[in-house]
């Protein structure tokens, strides 16, 4: 089981500013445990963010992305109250989807 993504998004003049943190170990397959055995690679391979039906951000990851990946991006055409849906798939075929509501402009 993985924890929900933390997604924060606010909109100013129609442009949404999205910051997200994705709980995931992002094991590179290079590390060893304390007995010297290699910890198998286990990382997110694909992440997508949709605004309604529209894909607004797509990412393919290798094992060099940090644990609990952080992302920040911006897209046009958003309004306060709109929903974002983020989904990832990892190298074991596990997946997770989470939603967020876009907030109004920060003070």
């Amino acid at each position: 089981m993985t924890n929900p993504m933390r997604i924060r998004a606010d909109v100013r003049d129609g442009v949404a500013d999205v910051r997200m943190q994705v709980p995931h170990p992002m094991e590179s397959g290079q590390r060893k445990d304390d007995k010297g055995a290699i910890i198998p690679a286990h990382f997110i391979t694909r992440l997508e963010v949709h605004h309604g039906e529209r894909l607004v951000f797509g990412a393919d990851f290798g094992p060099s992305v940090s644990a609990n990946p952080f992302l920040r991006f911006r897209f046009k055409g958003a309004a306060a109250g709109d929903r974002l849906v983020a989904r990832w798939v990892d190298s074991r075929g596990d997946s997770r989807s989470d939603e967020a509501v876009i907030a109004g402009a920060p003070a």
Binding site: T45, R54, G58, P69, F73, F75, K76
Partner: protein, 154 residues
């Protein structure tokens, strides 16, 4: 050669070496397909990754900026920001030259999304971080040396 076999060979042919491995039963066709759909991620050297992305001819551009720290004290989370001012930017890739698999991430930038991204990467050792941008079908590249004091991949 019967029709079925011909179709199989045709399907496998498009996958190159991975297809051959799949035919030989060394990896499953699904694995071959998955790897083929992610060009560059299996490359072990920067130039091989750039070639797999079709970016051997990438040129430097003042319209592409790459921000990363001069010295990374926390090498398992090095903040990297890539920003393109090139019209028609639809893809941004970030690579770390001396990591075991240099290609870290490929971002697709649909119409309406700003051609900029911030993320955090692991660095095995001091190396160049490389930003690659595709704009109107042409590749542009920027590099920034980052000194690592404690490895983030060990």
């Amino acid at each position: 050669m019967d029709q079925k076999r011909r179709q199989l060979l045709h399907a496998v042919g498009g996958l190159g070496v991975l297809g051959l491995l799949a035919t030989a039963g060394l990896i499953s066709p699904a694995q071959a397909q998955a790897a083929a759909a992610r060009p560059g991620f299996d490359a072990r050297e920067l130039n091989a990754a750039l070639a797999a992305l079709g970016a051997q001819e990438a040129s430097a551009s003042a319209e592409l900026s790459l921000a990363a720290p001069d010295i990374a004290e926390v090498a398992n989370a090095v903040s990297v920001e890539v920003k393109s001012r090139l019209p028609g930017t639809d893809r941004i890739a970030i690579l770390v030259e001396k990591n075991p698999f240099p290609l870290a991430a490929v971002f697709s930038i649909p119409e309406g999304t700003q051609p900029e991204v911030i993320t955090r990467l692991k660095m095995a050792q001091s190396a160049d971080v490389v930003a690659l941008v595709r704009a109107n079908g042409r590749f542009h590249i920027a590099r920034k040396a980052v000194i690592v004091t404690i490895s983030g991949c060990g």
